[in-house]
């Protein structure tokens, strides 16, 4: 019964796995493995505040293990320290360009972000997790969650601008 209570979170689990592996088939494999792990560690679920965040932490760990084995190039440490500070506010024309950006371009740009930025954006904007939940799932401080979100949004915007320019 307890493990059944995880099934309502299946879409959230799959969405995260799909964005981290960037492949339908691999996402299915990872989710299946994650659910089996979740079932084994079920006794730790009682202490969790949110069942969804608890499951997503397991899905994320399973994804990272899978990536390390199958696509080690994807798991790179983020160079947050030396990364340039966020760009000054963009001028209006670019904002307008961005607003007309198509979903396809956003998907492509998001897929190409380093996984550390991609995952916080997916958890925050698609899953609507709180900063605290993201910090727990990703095992990083809340401050880092916020700076990665800001940096991730910034990188995404730049990547989109580049694509829009190329397309026009």
């Amino acid at each position: 019964m307890r493990a059944d209570s995880l099934l309502p979170h299946l879409d959230a689990a799959y969405n995260l796995a799909r964005w981290l592996t960037r492949d339908d088939h691999d996402a299915e494999d990872v989710v299946q493995e994650a659910f089996m792990r979740a079932f084994r560690y079920e006794h730790t679920l009682e202490r969790a505040e949110s069942g969804r965040a608890w499951l997503l932490a397991i899905v994320r760990n399973t994804c990272y293990t899978w990536l390390a084995k199958n696509r080690p190039a994807d798991v790179v440490a983020l160079d947050e320290e030396s990364d340039a500070p966020a760009a000054p506010p963009e001028s209006n024309p670019e904002v307008i360009v961005l607003q007309s950006a198509q979903a396809k371009l956003v998907n492509q740009a998001l897929e190409e972000l380093p996984v550390g930025y991609r995952e916080v954006l997916v958890m925050r904007e698609l899953e609507e997790l709180t900063y605290k939940e993201i910090a727990e799932v990703a095992g990083i401080p809340i401050g880092t969650v916020m700076s990665r979100l800001a940096r991730g949004r910034d990188l995404l915007k730049r990547a989109l601008e580049k694509r829009m320019r190329r397309a026009s």
Binding site: A3, L10, D11, N15, E28, Q32, F35, R52, V106
Partner: protein, 205 residues
């Protein structure tokens, strides 16, 4: 700083394929069966050991093992909530964001009138209602949406319980808030933190 919802607005939300859901349901059921079998053997072992002990141990054990009321109700509420989310189309029997549609729907189906109101302005959007079953009696299940979260608010007769202020608990990762008011018992449940549900409890009360 305002968030720019580029991802929220334009990125794809990938839903799990139905085949995966079916596969997981089957393998989880299998795993649970294994678990129960192992548990059964353990119980048998404990039973044999205990039978050798004095009978007084038994009565003490039985008293300790009887679950408390909040636990029992919490468990039933979690089960009902999960069931409502698992079966397609089981979440609502009457779909409406209009309290004047949902409230009369319950009339004649229940021996009491649950309070039904829409709290969209405060972030809890009424989505419908259905009949459910808690503590061996018919209950109203009123459903709300809070951002992406589905909330079930169960209401059933309090059977002589005095009014009680909201109390939160977390069970199997779900947040619950229960209270008693005007001879009705209420319990709201969702996958949000229980503290977020207290806002709904305050609105309903």
């Amino acid at each position: 700083m305002s968030e720019e919802p580029l991802v929220a607005r334009d990125a794809t939300y990938y839903r799990a394929p139905e085949a995966l859901r079916e596969r997981l349901r089957a393998s989880l059921a299998g795993a649970a069966r294994e678990e129960r079998r192992a548990y059964g053997w353990r119980l048998l072992g404990i039973g044999i050991a205990a039978a050798a002990a004095a009978s007084i141990t038994w009565s003490v054990a039985l008293v300790t093992l009887a679950p408390g009321e909040p636990e029992r109700i919490g468990e039933q509420v979690v089960t009902a909530h999960v069931r409502s989310l698992m079966a397609p189309n089981h979440l609502v029997d009457v779909t409406s964001a209009d309290s004047h549609t949902v409230k009369p729907w319950f009339a004649g189906k229940l021996p009491f009138a649950p309070p039904v109101a829409d709290y969209s302005q405060q972030g809890f959007e009424l989505t419908g209602g259905r009949l459910d079953y808690i503590e061996g009696q018919p209950a109203a299940a009123i459903t709300y949406r809070h951002r992406l979260h589905t909330v079930n608010l169960f209401v059933w007769p309090a059977k002589g319980h005095a009014d009680a202020a909201p109390r939160t608990q977390t069970r199997q990762g779900y947040g619950l808030v229960g209270w008693v008011k005007g001879e009705l018992r209420f319990c709201a449940i969702s996958d949000m933190a229980p503290t977020d549900l207290v806002a709904l409890a305050d609105l309903v009360r």
